[in-house]
Symmetry: C2
Subunit: 354 residues, 2 copies
């Protein structure tokens, strides 16, 4: 069943309104979740609505956070999220950061006492729209052992960046620092399927292709010890430096229902115009993209891509043809709608669906 | 033959003095090269002396660069290296950046018209000594195809960071964004050995274990498309944004002898004290290191490590027992000494060796 992104956004907006979020905040959450679905990143899309609502209801997320600047200097911002939704806290941190980056040329932004922020791409795009090279990272509940270890310590700490371009779409990278998202292993376990070697280790630290053993064990960082180094860096910047939780001291989004997650984020914004005129910068980045795109492809590869191209294409298709939510996600939304007196069928009813 | 790091530094210092470098500049180059050897990163140590001297002699490197600030704002510095040695340009960029970071809390530093800067760890350590979290990256001559491509576009663009700690040694990561340094493949080819699968592709983009085919082809990024994303980011920050060369528009250090490389670097400095009191920060990072270190190790793994531990241990051993240069490197140094009227044996003679 394909649902139009607009109708889906309307429904999710109304859902979050019932939890006491303001109009603007409800829109941010709805828009960011639907944006993830549009880009094909369904694991970070509206499938999260039920768990977010549960956490709002149980008090783990503050629906009306008092988001405040804790520390400020010309190149640094530290923002307290007051246990609000990660999307709202990050929107505010980015808003403050964009204004500062326009003045000082570049800013490092730490965020403490936040929650799951969804997909980082949503925030880096806000920076890119202002001609800022933008980085977004976050720590997350632990599922990944340090390299050589067997006990989960790090999350799959996401790393995202956005780079403005001229006549090309901006380059947008948004990735977990694990080999694959843990959700893929959960899905394999549910279907009784094996997973490829290299994704995870079992409880004893041995490579495993058994999806259940993998879930009892630990996911592996991308690129071995080098990816471990990147994931560690993200936790230091997002957790240690901001005052948020780090390592195993972050509460699980699917559990600890009455405990704030205490996730930390880290953003960086860099104004390209402090380095050279915007037009010159755009000519240079366009040249790079063009050279990469026109570079000969390996056998069996259709086209050499830059990060974000696949997601951009998916977005165009899904804007036109709608988003196929899948039965389980649709049922979950229907159920959560019912709880809050909203009928999803009224939003995506026959004459409104695509 | 083990050589004391001090004697080696003296010799290298005198060598660079003959090329017209100032006392301070000669010391920086000598110290940074020997520091790489001390940390066990011999590929970036004194083995580079002959090629650096050749490039100085042929005019590709300016021995007395006029290093200047091109752009400056509270959070940004853009530094023109005037085709000086990368180590000297980077020292100056870091010096300017450290002063600015102490004021503004954080700074992004672009460097253009520079040359090979050796090992990034040397510069991040300068920042760490000032309680600054420090990032250092650089682009490099192309040897790595974009993901899905077959033609080298990126360099093995190094990425380094340093994180100050309290009672522990700082965390220092310094890595190439290729699976392995290209030097290892060169060495395998010289010895007629195969390389493991996953290191490189041949000219047609096919995985290869033949070291010569690998050299004719392209090294692979660490972690597949994710590592490609990191390497691309480094080239954007170091090359596109700074005005330096990028992609294939960077001259080869072992060729183009009369052409400046036009390498770009990018540094970031973040003052931890703009986020929280230094003591609190140090307690937090120490807690993280302790938790990682005391985490159970996988079977066959002696100890869970944080980045930099192996290199720190090598440094302690080599400071005590000297550096084993290997016959080829020693011969190269002896030869280059002869050209400039310096006898290496006078520096590391019997009574001076360890």
């Amino acid at each position: 069943m394909n649902v139009s992104s607009e109708h889906l956004r309307d429904f999710v907006y109304d859902i979050f309104k019932t939890a006491g979020l303001s109009d603007e905040d409800s829109y941010t959450v709805a828009d960011s979740l639907v944006a993830a679905n549009l880009r094909g990143v369904d694991s970070h899309g509206v499938t999260r609505v039920p768990i977010y609502m549960k956490r709002l209801k149980e008090g783990a997320i503050n629906p009306t956070p008092d988001i405040k600047i804790m520390q400020e200097s010309d190149g640094v911002l530290l923002v307290d999220g007051d246990d609000g939704m990660g999307q709202i806290v990050s929107r505010e941190a980015m808003r403050l950061g964009i204004a500062k980056a326009k003045k000082s040329g570049g800013v490092h932004i730490g965020v403490t006492r936040s929650s799951h922020f969804g997909a980082g791409a949503y925030f880096v795009k806000r920076g890119v729209e202002e001609d800022l090279i933008t980085f977004a990272m976050s720590n997350a509940p632990s599922t990944m052992a340090p390299w050589g270890g067997i006990q989960p310590y790090f999350g799959t700490n996401p790393y995202a960046y956005g780079v403005p371009a001229g006549r090309y779409d901006p380059i947008i990278l948004d990735m977990a620092t694990s080999v694959v998202a843990r959700g893929k292993i959960i899905m394999a376990a549910q279907n009784g399927q094996d997973i490829p070697e290299g994704w995870a280790i079992d409880q004893n630290g041995k490579p495993t292709t058994n999806s259940q053993d993998a879930l009892d064990g630990s996911v592996l960082p991308f690129g071995g010890p080098k990816g471990y180094g990147i994931s560690l860096m993200i936790d230091i910047m997002s957790g240690v430096l901001t005052g948020a939780g780090f390592g195993p001291h972050i509460n699980n989004i699917y559990g600890d229902y009455d405990q704030p997650q205490n996730v930390g984020h880290f953003f960086q914004l860099i104004d390209v115009q402090q380095f050279m005129p915007a037009q010159m910068y755009k000519q240079r980045i366009d040249q790079m993209i063009e050279e990469i795109k026109s570079s000969p492809a390996a056998e069996g590869v259709e086209e050499v891509l830059v990060p974000g191209e696949i997601e951009n294409r998916t977005e165009k298709t899904r804007l036109e043809n709608g988003i196929d939510l899948g039965e389980d996600v649709y049922k979950g939304l229907k159920q959560v709608g019912k709880e809050y007196g909203l009928n999803i069928e009224g939003y995506v009813s026959l004459n409104k669906t695509i």
